[in-house]
């Protein structure tokens, strides 16, 4: 059995348990296979998007978050205890403050705000998008606005960095009923969206 040949089957989860185990051992020694597998994994995962299925029931989200919180409550008190012990062991009050500050920073993200998207149209049909509540895009990334006419491909319609209320004059004239979406993309923008939209509205 040539193990190099199993990369596609592994990416599709189409190997029996012992074949998969043999391939995984091979993987730890074969850089070429690791690279090829990373590519084929992305492609295999894209097949998930081609499915047609009903929306998941809302209770599924709640059940997952509840189970996750229950698991965390078994772990976090232990960590907090350790921090307290360490805080007491350190004589300096300043050092204790640093530890407390870290805990707060980890448990409370600083981006507690609403994202809002407003669309206004000029007399010429051109549209202006106003976005508030988005932090500055991560380094090397940009926000990209899209106009998605019904049943057609998304049209790249402008880039903005976020961080303060942004006003984007959309390229072209958005069709009535088109979806306006914003995604995070590589700096410089892309021709077709590669990530899920963070906010949408309708023209």
């Amino acid at each position: 059995m040539d193990l190099h040949d199993l990369t596609a089957a592994y990416a599709l989860d189409a190997l029996d348990a012992d074949e998969a185990e043999a391939y995984e051992q091979h993987l730890s020694q074969c850089e070429d296979c690791r690279e090829q597998l990373a590519e084929l994994n992305d492609t295999a995962a894209s097949l998930a998007f081609a499915t047609v299925a009903p929306a998941p029931p809302p209770r599924l989200r709640a059940a997952i978050l509840e189970a996750a919180a229950a698991e965390r409550s078994n772990v976090v008190p232990f960590l907090r205890r350790r921090w307290v012990v360490r805080g007491l062991a350190v004589a300096s009050a300043a050092a204790a403050c640093v530890v407390v500050g870290l805990a707060v920073a980890l448990s409370r993200p600083s981006h507690q705000h609403f994202v809002s998207l407003g669309l206004t149209r000029g007399a010429n049909g051109k549209a202006t998008l106003t976005i508030t509540g988005l932090d500055t895009a991560p380094q090397g990334k940009t926000y990209e606005a899209w106009v998605i006419p019904k049943g057609r491909a998304p049209r790249p319609s402008g880039l903005f960095p976020g961080g303060k209320p942004a006003v984007v004059h959309l390229h072209g004239v958005p069709e009535n009923g088109a979806v306006i979406a914003v995604t995070v993309e590589q700096a410089g923008g892309v021709r077709a969206p590669t990530t899920a939209p963070i906010v949408t509205t309708r023209a």
Binding site: A11, L65, A68, R72, A137, V179
Partner: protein
């Protein structure tokens, strides 16, 4: 719209999830829960088993997020791989393989809410790329990925040597990768309905 972490990349959310930040897990679910459920439902053809598979996958993410290496994989690929593995394990365990994955008649309709615009586009794009594959390659990919068949089961079912099945799967995935990567394919995002 209240999406506190909406501006973060998927990978940044996994890093937060590794620090037991529940809102990061919620945001990842909001981005990929629907695709995850769609995948599990397609493989398992059972809403209850599909829910179980998605829940187990997201909890595995929650427990092992610290081990995620963003340089090696996209977070979305990781999540959907976890879901697929769970679903395939379940379908093999239950011995209720559904090999009717080529039949589309029974597929439910999907409503087109605003939030689903991106998912709808992804679906159309991947479906269009799949349609461009040679029949034999598409059949191998669909029976393996959606049907949960192993390569040996595929060889038996299709009456082909294992080597032929392997090359159909490899050829199909490689061609699909090219099709999805070509800027031109965005033209085929045009709805066929």
């Amino acid at each position: 719209m209240n999406r506190q972490l909406a501006h973060l990349s998927d990978e940044a959310l996994v890093v937060l999830a590794a620090r037991s930040e529940e809102s990061a897990l919620a945001e990842l679910y909001d981005r990929y829960g629907r695709a995850a459920y769609g995948l599990a439902y397609r493989v398992l053809r059972d809403p209850v088993l599909a829910e179980d598979a998605v829940q187990e996958a997201f909890l595995t993410l929650w427990r092992t997020a610290a081990r995620f290496v963003p340089e090696r994989s996209k977070a979305s690929t990781w999540i959907l791989t976890l879901v697929h593995r769970r679903a395939v394990d379940a379908v093999r365990r239950e011995q209720r393989r559904r090999t009717d994955s080529l039949e589309r008649a029974a597929e439910p309709s999907v409503e087109g809410a605003d939030e689903d615009a991106w998912l709808r586009l992804q679906r159309e794009r991947v479906q269009a790329a799949l349609r461009m594959l040679p029949d034999a390659q598409r059949e191998a990919l669909e029976l393996a990925y959606y049907g949960g068949l192993s390569q040996s089961e595929l060889a038996e079912r299709l009456g082909q040597p294992l080597g032929t099945i392997k090359s159909r799967m490899f050829g199909g995935l490689s061609r699909l990768r090219e099709l999805l990567g070509e800027p031109g394919t965005e033209m085929s995002w045009t709805s066929t309905t």
